[in-house]
Point group: C2
């Protein structure tokens, strides 16, 4: 039994950067360091960070002056930023630079007179943060909603960094007939593109596929959907504890990938456990494949 | 047997306008009136115009000073315009205003720093005219060619006014992943959109479909392709002489549409001939359907 881990599994550059910034702020920030919302959508990493002295609040009004507040990689609306500033909190901004670019883009599109459409989940903090930068954002998350849109003389489009590429393509194809002038920024971040592509490839080559990451992580859920669409035996797990050995019956190769918010140590735990299961004689082969693994 | 003629069949506004301008120039222009290239891609209309005293030349160097030259609805590159001007010809510009808008758009896109891609047939005079307005046009006419394009950081897109809408949609969908920033002008003209949509609908409702127009007319050929894709019994004819009565065996309803360059009198001749065939007892019903006909 072979285990093949996707090269792109786990933290993207922006998340790694945010975690490093947050850990630093927890050590050196003024007062106690609070992260506004979960730093990353991963319960187990959140627990690890709490152990380092950081805390997490959903409600910014609960924050008291004299402390440090960390803006996570998803970014926030300018109104949120200003509120925190006026409250006298020390702000540590860990917004992903790629997300910041989207903020600049929607602002520019609005200035150029384009109504701005954001392709993404309206409840996702990244999308809420982007939307907060413009007056009348149109947020759309399905082809059905897109079809119901009226005709536009001009339209500007950006998307959530973790959007499914296929949805993006189909959406732009629909919008091409909805607007006489369409200005589209493909703001799916490269890490997402690579991770989705690799997941699709790996899932089609293995017998069983494990997608590791928070059940509340948007990008992990998308990886699971992509994997499931090419391999029925795909499972979305948060940690090794959820693994059911019966999943691997008759399997010769197991693939593993993980979302942008899944820490390396969680992936390692899963791989170690799979190796153990393999050694228990459940599988015909064993060992992590060196070619695609790390 | 019923005959249903598409409402949108025949001359579009831009072609009607160009023919009127040309006829006027033939009457009142300086010297003899020459049209640079066929005024419209329809042999029979060309013959009618020749009878009015107009002539047609393919090679602009053949034109002699002191005469009138008509720029047809397809438009020309600025270099051509300037050449004719310097040669002392009286220029009557019948370029379709919608095509002129595309000239302005590609010029603007180039000024804004976008490489400009034109979706359309590189040999079509309209496309050559558009391309002549910019330094390095990229002209693409198939999805295969599009797939071979490299990645762009930014890309501007326009299209031939008579482009197939489905091709446009698919092309934009592909380009969405080829460029980080994509600015698309949907320059398919409304007459084309309506005519293609109506052709598809009519073809799916009738037993036999006739598409009337020049075999060298790009937009008529596209109508034929659309019709053929939904109704196997589709025929592209230039005039009533090409009609084979056996086409209508067992047919109860015949649909008729025509390209943007097909004169009304050519359509009328076809419809009259079909009516005659119907009266001959080949069909079960007769008469032109009033609902969709004209």
């Amino acid at each position: 039994m072979k285990i093949r881990v996707a090269k792109s599994a786990g933290f993207c550059w922006g998340v790694k950067r945010a975690v490093n910034i947050a850990v630093e702020a927890a050590k050196k920030g003024k007062g106690k360091a609070y992260c506004l919302g979960e730093l990353i959508h991963n319960k187990r990493e959140i627990e690890r960070l709490k152990a380092l002295g950081m805390d997490f609040v959903e409600d910014m009004e609960a924050l008291e002056t004299g402390n440090t507040v960390i803006i996570r990689s998803h970014g926030v609306a300018p109104q949120v930023f200003n509120y925190l500033k006026e409250k006298g909190l020390e702000i540590v901004d860990a917004t992903c630079p790629f997300v910041k670019e989207i903020h600049d883009k929607v602002t520019k599109l609005e200035k150029e007179g384009y109504p701005v459409l954001i392709l993404g989940n309206p409840k996702h903090p990244e999308v809420r943060g982007i939307a907060g930068h413009i007056k009348d954002p149109i947020i759309v998350n399905s082809l059905e909603e897109l079809e119901e849109l009226p005709q536009f003389s001009k339209l500007g489009v950006v998307c959530q960094t973790t959007l499914n590429m296929d949805f993006f393509r189909k959406a732009v194809s629909l919008l091409a007939l909805k607007a006489k002038e369409l200005k589209v920024y493909n703001t799916i971040c490269k890490a997402t593109t690579v991770r989705q592509k690799e997941t699709r490839e790996l899932a089609s080559q293995v017998d069983v596929m494990l997608i590791v990451g928070g059940k509340n992580s948007s990008n992990t859920t998308k990886l699971y959907q992509i994997s499931k669409s090419v391999n029925e035996r795909s499972y979305h797990i948060e940690s090794k504890e959820e693994i059911d050995p019966s999943w691997f019956e008759g399997a010769e190769v197991v693939g593993v990938t993980a979302g942008a918010s899944t820490p390396q140590w969680v992936i390692d735990e899963v791989v170690d456990y799979l190796r153990l299961l393999g050694e228990g004689g459940n599988w015909s082969g064993r060992g992590v494949c060196q070619a695609a693994g790390r």
